[in-house]
Amino acid sequence: MSGLAWAFSRDLTLAWRHPGEAMLTLAFFVLVASLFPLGIGADPQLLARVGPGVIWVCALLAAFLGLPSLFASDHADGTLEQMALSADPIAAWVSGKIAAHWLSTGLPLTLLSPLLGLQYGLPADALVTLGAALLLGTPVLSLLGAACAALTLGARGGGMLLALLALPLFVPVLVFGAGAAEATAAGLSASPHLSLLGAGLLVAAVSVPFAVGSAIRIALD
Amino acid sequence: MEGHGFYLAMSYGMAAVAIVVELVALALGRARAWKQVEEERSLEAQD
């Protein structure tokens, strides 16, 4: 467990010292979400209809932005190798890194999403569901993305390859996440969507760190 | 065929094209592998 806490506080400190990257992710999120009305027209009904889906796709892309650098610098300067040699299981400190990554990208996205939802004219209850869905869904994105980032360590064509691997795996999160807010907007209960997202988060949180661990071991061989 | 010939032709045609493309790719891959083996052999013959 000490490995988890150590990696978590270290990555969080690093993110705190260089807030630029998290800021860029947020700026990208807002910018892309603002481009959609320009592209599809500013009809309020249309915007309220597509809002949850658009915000989710933007969150997906923004969450993806920080992935290539998740393990890359630790891999380049040998930290990853040191950590793999330590007594702590790889899955533990990997979980710490992923949690720190989510706190510095996923959580800000979640906190910012109601503002974007307002721009799209979503009703208040849909805003709450959207936030809740992002709160449950973005950690899953960080987990799955971390597995793909570890697989592509040192690969040619890193960023594009990572997109090809990660985005198809994000499909279920997108479906349940965007579906939750849409269900609320349509006057239905969002709890099935949110329960499924929560179940997915639990399963991913206990299983994906091990996959990331084996991927890192493969990368270090 | 009441106008469905086009769709049948496109389906069967593309399936045939896909298989032919794969077979050509297989032959090319095989030739490339053998070429690498030959290169390796000629390198060793020089030693």
Binding site: A147, L151, T152, G154, A155, R156, G157, L161, L164, L165, L167, P168, L169, V171, P172, V175, F176, G179, E182, A183, G200, A211, S214, A215, I218, A219, D221 | M1, E2, G3, H4, G5, Y7, L8, M10, S11, Y12, M14, A15, A18, I19, V21, E22, L23, A25, L26, G29, R30, R32, A33, W34, Q36, V37, E40, R41, E44
Partner: protein, 241 residues
Amino acid sequence: MNFFYFSSPSTFFRLAGRLAPAFFILAAVLAAAGLYVGLVQAPTDAVQGEVYRVIFIHVPAAWMSMFIYFVMACYGAMALTFNSRLSAMMARALAPTGAMFTFVALWTGAFWGRPTWGTYWVWDARITSELVLLFLYLGFIALSNAFEEPRRGDRAASLLSIIGIVNLPIIYFSVQWWNTLHQGSSIKLTGSSMHVTMLTAMLLMTFAAWMYAIAASLVRVRSVILERERRARWVRDLGRT
């Protein structure tokens, strides 16, 4: 017979060389029979007319696209647990054929959908999952070729195939869920019960596709083995066959 006898690349190379032509011939014979039964003998469908005959490539291709991914993931799991090089090479050899069948399934589905449903593409659960499957194949192929060190690509891609096979049912379920929520145009194949000759043709074509997939991946795995082992003594002594 020793189970591990054929797990050495040199013996498997020779075995694959002998088996591949046999599987190609088998595939050709089965395909010829299937096409004859399907295009000549099978009667015109009462509801769909002639265009239903796309089924004889569409369904085998769709089945093979999923089956090959499953087999590929099994080889991937074997490659990681037993650290066997040959399993990883087999997984690598299967992927392009699987991607080809996935593409054919999507393409023929579109050209079947246009006359029967009136549209080339619907965001139906099966079609959408098949599209995601195509991307999973492409990701596998790209990852396995993305490293200077081929063994690294083998192992990374093997792990990816396992992650993919775990995710495929979840993806299918999510898309199905999404599809029922969005109430896409209700599309079902109704009113057409399968004639016996239709079923025969479809099974023949499925076996043909299966044999073809084995033959193609055997030829491909031979190329992979040659490239990997080109410095090995047994390759140097190999006569060009």
